[in-house]
């Protein structure tokens, strides 16, 4: 028996001892760009469908981003540049865009890329049988035609500024898909694109392995393989990062500021931050009798100490938002009215609006006490903590705030859609194109539409329409700056903050340069110097 136990222990020891990671010296030397090595990332959810037209989840789009190209894309400063299109020109009336396509591009199966692929992508997107969420921009097209193999022309009924970037959608291979049912195509699991990486292996629920496309039209990417692992638990993901099992991961503010502040981690990882593409806001139901008065909304913004939210909840990893754009975008207006934390001013504004303080210190108007509920969705602690801080500040003014946290689907269906809320604490994505028609135009108040606050302002309506009907950036900028002035004055939301995206990336990976567009815009130029490469395939070792 004892012998058997000893044998068992020995076997265990053997299991433990093999396969330790090879130690590689310093990563501080920037070195020379070299081909090779593997970048391991992870995500909480698994990709579902690698035809991006059919997928609505972030994980699918992240993977598809490596495999496909659009006609145009955003560069690091969020300017539109060519991708599969070399150039494009507008007709004088701005109704027609003519794209001139690259001529040296091949699909990953070797067939040449032509304007027929673009035409097919357009047609399948607007086909009513295609279950896609992304047809609305293409439905505004009046006519699309392939003039020859490398010229593609679209015509619109009226000028539509977001039209150009809508052609940034992934272009699909016509020769593999035309005439077939796209929903059951094998390409949903084994895609063929024009992009820098191709799918090598997909182990369901576990990982997706991408290999560099040696014939990529912008040149072979330096990093040879990308492995996207599925790790559903964020705590495990963080442990795996500390353990060196993944090379890049998003961090929470707490992880970024505190839990990774030790020498070994700093030896192994670079910590990178850039402004995220979203803002968190407290939105008021403008049909609510108290919130109809803009002085009340201004008062609530004055009463909110947004700097303290950033310091206390985000541990400094964010900036105060004072409008729907982030400060490094061209559409951002830095000169709008600001609302620094000022409870005195808030009190004065509320007094002007007709609120009186009772003997118990609570505010009321015409006998009705100032009470309202802030709703937010479950599973987002930052939002819940924000609501709690706001509750405290407003209590000091004599306003009673209740907080309700509701599961997402129920929240949207039963409260937002039914307009049954006083105020909500939510976030919007900041679009790269500044068109915000869907959120602020007064016509967008139907069920399932996004102006659920009920914001109505004639001038904003006109400016939103004007701004999406011109391609002139200066003109658009003037419109959006005026819209921001009005929003700042009206305060339909208390804009709270824009968080930083906080990322840890293994130090051997060079060439990461945070910019307004984030970090992945130049992924194909990331590299690991030859002497710092960690994961080599058998082939590369020989």
């Amino acid at each position: 028996m004892a012998g058997r136990i000893a044998l068992g222990l020995l076997a265990l020891l053997l299991i433990f001892s093999c396969g330790k990671k090879e130690e590689i010296g310093k990563y501080d030397d920037p070195g020379q760009p070299a081909y090779g090595d593997t970048l391991i990332t992870s995500s909480i959810g698994e990709a579902s469908n690698l035809i991006p037209l059919l997928a609505t989840d972030g994980a699918s789009h992240d993977i598809a981003g490596y495999i496909y190209n659009g006609l145009v894309k955003y560069d690091k400063d969020l300017k539109i540049v060519g991708d599969l299109a070399e150039s494009w020109d507008f007709s004088p009336d701005q109704l027609t865009i003519t794209f001139h396509l690259r001529k040296n591009v091949r699909w990953q199966d070797g067939k040449p890329f032509t304007a027929r692929d673009v035409l097919y992508t357009y047609k399948v997107t607007i086909d009513p049988k295609t279950p896609t969420a992304y047809s609305s921009d293409f439905l505004m097209v009046k006519k699309a035609e392939a003039l020859d193999d490398y010229t593609f022309r679209v015509t619109y009924d009226k000028p539509f500024a977001p039209a150009l970037i809508s052609w940034g959608s992934s272009i699909l291979p016509q020769h593999l898909l035309e005439g077939k049912d796209i929903t059951t195509s094998p390409l949903t699991r084994s895609p063929v694109g024009t992009g820098p990486y191709k799918l090598k292996e997909w182990i369901a629920g576990d990982r997706i392995v991408l290999a560099a496309n040696p014939d990529y039209f912008e040149g072979r990417p330096y990093i040879s393989r990308v492995i996207a692992r599925v790790i559903p638990d964020p705590a495990t993901q963080f442990l795996e990062l500390k353990n060196g099992g993944i090379d890049m991961a998003n961090l929470t503010p707490l992880q970024f500021v505190r839990q990774t502040e030790y020498p070994k981690f700093n030896r192994e990882y670079n910590k990178i931050k850039y402004l995220g593409f979203n803002y968190v806001y407290l939105g008021y139901n403008l049909k609510h009798p108290f919130f109809k008065d803009k002085r009340v909304r201004q008062a609530l913004t004055y009463a909110t100490n947004r700097q303290e939210i950033i310091e206390g909840i985000l541990l400094g990893q964010g900036v105060v938002a004072d409008g729907p754009y982030k400060p490094d975008m061209w559409a951002y207006d830095p000169n709008v009215r600001k609302y620094p934390y000022d409870p005195k001013k808030a009190e004065a504004l509320l007094r002007d609006a007709g609120f009186v303080k009772g003997a118990d210190g609570r505010l009321s108007k015409d006998g009705k006490p100032f009470e309202f509920t802030i709703m937010t969705n479950q599973g987002n602690d930052v939002r819940i903590h924000c609501a709690e801080l706001i509750q405290r500040w407003l209590a000091a003014l004599g306003i009673t705030v209740k907080i309700r946290v509701i599961e997402w689907a129920a929240f949207v269906n039963q409260f937002i859609d039914a307009r049954k809320f006083d105020a909500v604490l939510l976030a919007w994505t900041i679009p790269q194109d500044p068109d915000i028609f869907d959120i602020w135009h007064s016509s967008k108040q139907g069920t399932k539409e996004l102006n659920f606050m009920g914001f109505e302002n004639r001038e904003v309506d006109e400016l939103l329409v004007k701004a999406r009907q011109t391609f002139d950036q200066e003109e658009r900028k003037r419109c959006y700056w005026r819209i921001q002035e009005i929003l700042a004055e009206e305060q339909p939301y208390t804009f709270l903050f824009i968080p930083y995206a906080t990322v840890a990336a293994q130090k051997r990976i060079k060439g990461i340069e945070p910019a307004p567009a984030g970090i992945t815009y130049n992924f194909t130029k990331w590299y690991v110097p030859a002497d710092q490469q960690r994961y080599r395939t058998e082939q590369e070792r020989k």
């Binding site: 396969g19 969420a133 576990d206 559903p232 638990d233 399932k448």
Partner: protein
């Protein structure tokens, strides 16, 4: 015996039918619809798109029609296609994950049996000894500690601090390049933590069951008789006591059958293991009704089969049931 099995099997049909109706109703109760979740609050999704997707999934039809459509496919053993955007066959999604969950759970079950039964026997024989108390305390602690917490602690200790074991997944990134024995070692290293963590709870149940039923048996007259006629103690335990005490373990094993395919949401999520528990969790979160129904029905079916098997096995092992 055969008629008994047959009768039980026939009775399973209405039972299964009832289970499908209840499951179908319950999963349609909470708000939120498949597909729509990905489109909620998305400015690019128009009303027409929304309607189109609902029609595609038959969600615009009343609930009983939806159930009828599902049932019509189900009687042909067709679970339909997933509502998630991959539109894959439900049965494919399940079969690609089933082997992982089954083998993991079988390993864990073996671990429980191999350690649980001896611990139970020892604790029953030497009841009240220091080791009995120690073991009892240990298995109870294992039972009481939240699995996810223990899992994280073990990952932190063995993975991050000692760097002995991989933390997540089942295979290393370079798995395909390893030699045959390298592959075995790689999988074994990945399995150590999940198997240990997932069996620690069951270990307590198994050993307690074994202990109490063995204690019961040891009080019987025939054991006293065996002692009286001077049989060696090892033989009494092996031949007379443990055999009889194992009957309750068989019942326990029958109940473990559905667990074999159900998998555990918690430890599969924490260890990043692509098993059934994870599939079920993700399907529930995305309201992927066909997949949820598929897993529920298969699980219910296996529970019924497991109970039947346990009863049959009991009858085989225990002449009193078989003959009585």
């Amino acid at each position: 015996m055969l008629t008994y099995i047959l009768k039980r099997a026939i009775f399973m049909v209405p039972m299964l039918l009832g289970i499908t109706i209840i499951s179908f109703l319950i999963i349609h109760l909470p708000p939120g619809e498949p597909g729509a979740l990905g489109m909620e609050m998305n400015p690019k999704v128009t009303k027409e798109v929304r309607e189109r997707v609902r029609a595609l999934y038959d969600l615009d039809k009343p609930l009983h029609i939806q159930y009828y459509l599902w049932m019509k496919r189900f009687v042909k053993l067709d679970f339909g296609r997933s509502f998630s955007s991959d539109r894959r066959l439900v049965i494919d999604k399940i079969t690609e994950r089933l082997p992982i969950t089954i083998s993991l759970n079988l390993l864990a079950l073996m671990f429980e049996l191999v350690f649980g039964i001896p611990i139970g026997v020892y604790c029953a024989r030497y009841k009240g000894s220091a080791l009995d108390k120690g073991l009892t305390a240990f298995v109870f602690a294992g039972f009481a500690i939240p699995t996810f917490w223990l899992a994280l602690l073990c990952m932190l200790l063995f993975g991050v601090y000692l760097d002995l074991l991989p933390i997540t997944g089942l295979k290393s990134f370079n798995f395909s390049e390893l030699t045959f024995f390298g592959k075995i070692a790689d999988i074994a290293r990945h399995l150590v933590l999940p198997v240990f963590i997932s069996s620690i709870g069951g270990l307590a149940g198994m050993s307690r069951y074994m202990k109490s039923s063995l204690l019961e048996v040891l009080r019987q007259d025939y054991i006293t008789t065996a002692y009286a006629k001077g049989l060696p103690e090892g033989m009494i335990l092996r031949k007379h006591a443990v055999r009889n005490a194992l009957l309750s373990v068989i019942t326990l094993l029958g109940m473990a059958v559905p667990g074999l395919i159900g998998g555990s949401v918690i430890f599969e999520t924490i260890f990043g293991i692509p098993g059934m528990g994870q599939l079920f969790y993700m399907s529930v979160m995305s309201r992927d009704f066909p997949v949820i129904m598929g897993i529920l029905v298969i699980g219910a079916f296996l529970t019924l089969v497991g109970n039947l098997l346990a009863d049959v096995a009991l009858a085989v092992a225990d002449p009193r049931i078989r003959l009585g």
